[in-house]
């Protein structure tokens, strides 16, 4: 344990410093736990997890049942793009007031649904129950069921009180909501094509992945949930294969689809040359589609070459640089470590908010011995380890950006505030440019 970093006893099992070990319970990292009381955690809650998975469904009306905060903090913040409806970019809520807390909010929720259906023409409504809804005893299942009967539309309850677990539980709740939505179509006959799960079309990334698949002759049946619509989701049961991009949020959904509708899945990643290439090849193999396989091999060979040639021009700019990675899911962290390696950058600090045991095992194998691995890190830990390990750039989300800048460390947003697509071969170029832009900005000259 390094002397300069002050760490809570309870937190020590969640940090793996391969050189100076503070993995208190033996060999494994402690993960999938709730944050310690009093920690300045970077984590969100169950509601947040559910909301981020369902939010990109473009023609759904997302009604947040609770006081105004949970609706306002999640209003149009995710950067998920739409090729069609823009309904999801509005914020709907019941804005519960004190009298609703005393007398119950069911009536207000029912009235809110009435007011919505009266004026708009919704096909699909999600009703999110936030922290206090269960506590005040609202039966949102009943309200949703009655609304479905009354209007003949889908009104799906998403019971996601923030305190009931971690963000991962929220993902699971969202996946269950999707399963409930598509249940009436479970017997749909299978046709050629795949569902893309766990991509939210940030900066149009879903469109990139979709275009690659189309190029190698694999139809995309449904996208979950980036650029999805009610209609497109209902086609989901007819796919041959699910490909899972964000494993953290959507592996559970893939398992459910496999168990209930017999659709197998593979995990993929489209970040970096190595992972993009192997993902396309593995999808073709999983489908047993020889033609697609040869197309994939040809396409990725050509694109990899171009990407590598592009990267080569940047290599001198990245020489000797070190990266810190702090992202949501473990699978993304793994991709980023590989992608940085392609760029000649060593990853010296790796953290995730919701990584799982298997993810951390892979990460351990990928990084060198003196890399620090953290689960649910707080800013103090991030700061100390980044400085100690001499990180030059941090890849993270919105809360980490100003932290990095204050330390004089470059930054790239790989979360929902990414400004350019980071997936696929286009993403390699964008990511490389962004990393370079931040690492080599003239502003650092004034900071030192």
């Amino acid at each position: 344990m390094s002397g300069s970093v002050r760490i809570l006893e309870e937190r020590k099992t969640s940090i793996l410093d391969k050189a100076m070990c503070c993995n208190g319970n033996g060999k494994e990292i402690g993960c999938e736990k709730q944050s310690v009381s009093g920690a300045v955690s970077q984590r969100a809650c169950v509601y947040c997890g559910a909301r981020v998975v369902l939010n990109p469904i473009t023609d759904a009306y997302h009604i947040v049942h609770g006081p105004i905060g949970c609706a306002s903090y999640t209003w149009d913040i995710r950067g998920s793009l739409s090729s069609g409806a823009e309904i999801y970019r509005n914020s709907y809520s019941t804005d519960l007031r004190e009298s609703d807390i005393i007398f119950g909010g069911e009536k207000k929720l029912a009235a809110a649904i009435d007011e919505l259906v009266e004026k708009e023409n919704p096909k699909l409504i999600f009703v999110y129950a936030t922290c206090i809804v269960g506590v005040i005893g609202d039966d949102i299942e009943a309200v949703c069921r009655l609304a479905e009967e009354k209007y003949g539309i889908r009104v799906i309850p998403v019971k996601a009180p923030g305190f009931s677990g971690t963000k991962s539980l929220g993902y699971k709740i969202a996946c269950n909501a999707i399963m409930r939505l598509i249940a009436p179509n479970r017997e749909l006959p299978k046709g050629k094509g795949v569902n893309i799960l766990g991509d939210f079309n940030l900066a149009g990334e879903m469109w990139i992945i979709k275009s690659y698949l189309e190029r190698i002759g694999i139809p995309v049946v449904s996208t979950v949930t980036g650029d999805a619509s009610f209609e497109s989701l209902m086609r989901m049961p007819s796919a041959q294969l699910n490909i899972v991009q964000c494993a953290g949020s959507s592996t559970y959904l893939a398992n459910q689809l496999e168990e209930q509708m017999g659709i197998p899945y593979i995990k993929v990643s489209f970040f970096g040359v190595e992972d993009t290439t192997s993902s396309l090849v593995r999808i073709a193999q999983a489908l047993g589609d020889q033609q697609a396989l040869s197309k994939a091999l040809a396409f990725t060979a050509e694109e990899s070459e171009k990407a590598k040639a592009f990267l080569k021009t940047y290599l001198p700019k990245f020489e000797g640089k070190k990266a810190a990675v702090y992202v949501g899911g473990g699978f993304k962290a793994i991709s980023l470590i590989r992608q940085f390696r392609e760029m000649g950058i060593e990853t010296v600090v790796v953290g995730t908010q919701t990584g799982q045991k298997e993810d951390y095992e892979i990460i351990e194998q990928l990084v060198s011995d003196d890399t620090v691995i953290l689960d649910d890190a707080n800013p103090a830990e991030l700061e100390e380890f980044m400085l100690e390990k001499g990180a030059d750039i941090l890849v993270g989300g919105v809360k980490e950006r100003p932290l990095a800048y204050k330390l004089g460390i470059a930054f790239c947003d790989h979360n929902h505030e990414r400004k350019h697509a980071l997936a696929g071969f286009e993403g390699i170029r964008n990511f490389t440019r962004e990393v370079n832009l931040s690492l080599n900005s003239p502003v650092w000259e004034f900071c030192r």
């Binding site: 809570l8 709730q34 944050s35 310690v36 009381s37 009093g38 920690a39 300045v40 955690s41 969100a44 809650c45 509601y47 947040c48 009604i63 006081p67 105004i68 905060g69 949970c70 609706a71 306002s72 903090y73 999640t74 209003w75 823009e86 509005n90 914020s91 709907y92 809520s93 019941t94 519960l96 004190e98 807390i101 929720l109 009235a111 809110a112 007011e115 919505l116 009266e118 004026k119 708009e120 936030t130 922290c131 206090i132 506590v135 009180p161 923030g162 305190f163 800013p379 103090a380 700061e383 919105v398 809360k399 100003p402 932290l403 800048y405 204050k406 330390l407 004089g408 900071c447 030192r448």
Partner: protein
């Protein structure tokens, strides 16, 4: 974008669409960040604190530190007593603040957690402090959270020793650190010794140092908050935001207060300067006179471009009242003036301003939302939209020039460092408004009408 917003306005009583407010705790967190070496603490689920920190970071482009009780299923049934006790211990052990400022959330309020007794029961290290306030998210808005947190500090700390400290307390209202700096500059020029409470300058606009500071140089100190009880007077800026803390301090420590609007625009700044002058018995120094004169000069030079331009103004109540006053001084016509905060006082104050300038066709509304504003605009458009970043979609959908001001501004930089208050702040606002209107004129005019000199 938002093309689906129907033109026909329908009565809604249950459904809130596109809010113009958020919940109390984020306001409480912001107020607590304005206290030196203070850790704001959210007594609720871990998601709350994550959202609030993110929200503040997006507006200020600064890290916003706060801790959480991290409620679990068990805490929501048995109460959060053990969570807060563990949290306080951990926060002092790990982050070493001088004071922890606890605010509640909808969850801890609904299950009835009694923070008074929790705090009495907990062991607090020697020389350290824990204060709290109640911020139920289902009452008021983030503005209530801000003033409730101020009341929490006053309740716990302010004392009347009987020996006046010769200072004036300035409550700045829910404004940016840039505003607080400008208010302090003006008070300094007027030679009024003061305590500004809270004071986020030097905290949420801290300079780049190459170190991440958990606690910055800025913030009202604990001793200064204690000393509020010995101040001679309170200048409470923002009639809606600052009245409750001012009343509390009067009740507790018999410190009289003068309630006035946020000093946005000429008249409101004059009022602030006059009040300071009455306290210090000093003439207004030339530096301020000169700045005021420059501002009037600018309004005179440019009045033909702002006169009779209609504007929709939205955001936090006191900020909107201030912006409305400035627009009226520029000869503009505030057509729609709304806040999401449910305070009827707002409608009275904003309405009175419009009446004073003889504006006839105006709508003011508290507890309103942006969907409603959008519908009004669809029916009868305005020349300018003035408010938070959430007006962006309306501006694009209706192709209306848009100036960002207030909280939050999530999609631009520098706003939180520069003031809106004072004569200098007004100049910056006037420049933004004029540039936006005139850029639009240039964009829309025919080639033959494009003029280099305007």
């Amino acid at each position: 974008m938002l093309d689906l917003t129907p033109k026909e306005v329908s009565i809604r009583s249950a459904l809130r669409i596109n809010p113009c407010k958020t919940c109390q705790p984020v306001g409480a967190m912001y107020a607590a960040l304005g206290v030196h070496k203070c850790m704001p603490h959210s007594h609720g689920s871990q998601g709350c604190v994550s959202y609030h920190r993110t929200f503040l970071t997006r507006h200020f482009k600064e890290p916003a530190m706060a801790s959480t009780s991290s409620f679990t299923e068990g805490a929501s049934v048995f109460g959060g007593g053990s969570n807060i006790k563990t949290a306080v211990k951990n926060v002092f052990d790990l982050y070493d603040p001088d004071i922890i400022a606890v605010h509640t959330t909808c969850l801890s309020e609904t299950i009835g957690d009694d923070l008074n007794s929790y705090i009495q029961e907990m062991s607090i290290p020697e020389g350290k402090l824990v204060v709290h306030t109640n911020t139920p998210s289902y009452v008021g808005s983030h503005i209530n959270g801000f003033f409730n947190m101020m009341c929490g500090f006053i309740n716990y700390l302010a004392q009347k020793t009987g020996t006046p400290n010769g200072k004036t307390a300035i409550f700045p209202g829910f404004v940016n650190p840039g505003d607080m700096r400008e208010l302090k500059r003006i008070a300094g020029l007027m030679q009024v010794p003061f305590t500004m409470f809270p004071d986020t300058s030097g905290v949420m606009d801290a300079p780049m140092t190459g170190r991440f500071e958990m606690y910055h140089k800025g913030g009202t100190t604990i001793d200064e908050i204690r000393g509020l009880g010995d101040c001679g007077k309170v200048l409470a800026l923002g009639q809606i935001t600052s009245v409750e803390p001012a009343e509390l301090l009067e009740k507790k420590c018999k410190v009289p207060y003068e309630l006035m609007p946020l000093p946005i625009g000429i008249e409101a700044t004059d009022q602030f300067v006059q009040a300071l002058s009455k306290i210090s018995h000093q003439e207004v120094p030339y530096e301020l006179e000169e700045q005021r004169g420059q501002l009037v000069d600018i309004l005179l030079d440019s009045h033909q471009y702002s006169y009779q331009k209609s504007v929709a103004i939205f955001g936090d109540p006191d900020t909107v009242i201030g912006l409305t006053a400035l627009c009226l001084e520029m000869g503009m016509v505030p057509k729609y003036v709304i806040t999401g905060t449910p305070k009827e006082e707002f409608s009275k104050l904003a309405g009175a301003l419009c009446e004073k300038y003889g504006v006839q066709d105006y709508t003011v509304k508290a507890n309103a939302d942006l969907f409603e504003l959008h519908q009004w605009i669809k029916n009868d458009p305005v020349d300018l939209l003035l408010g938070t970043s959430y007006g962006k979609q309306i501006a694009k959908a209706e192709d209306i020039p848009f100036v960002r001001a207030g909280f939050p501004v999530l999609d631009r930089y520098v706003h939180s460092v520069l003031p809106m208050v004072g004569y200098g702040g007004a100049m910056l606002l006037v420049e933004k408004i004029l540039n936006t209107l005139m850029d639009r004129q240039d964009r829309d005019c025919e080639d033959k009408d494009l003029e280099v000199v305007m």
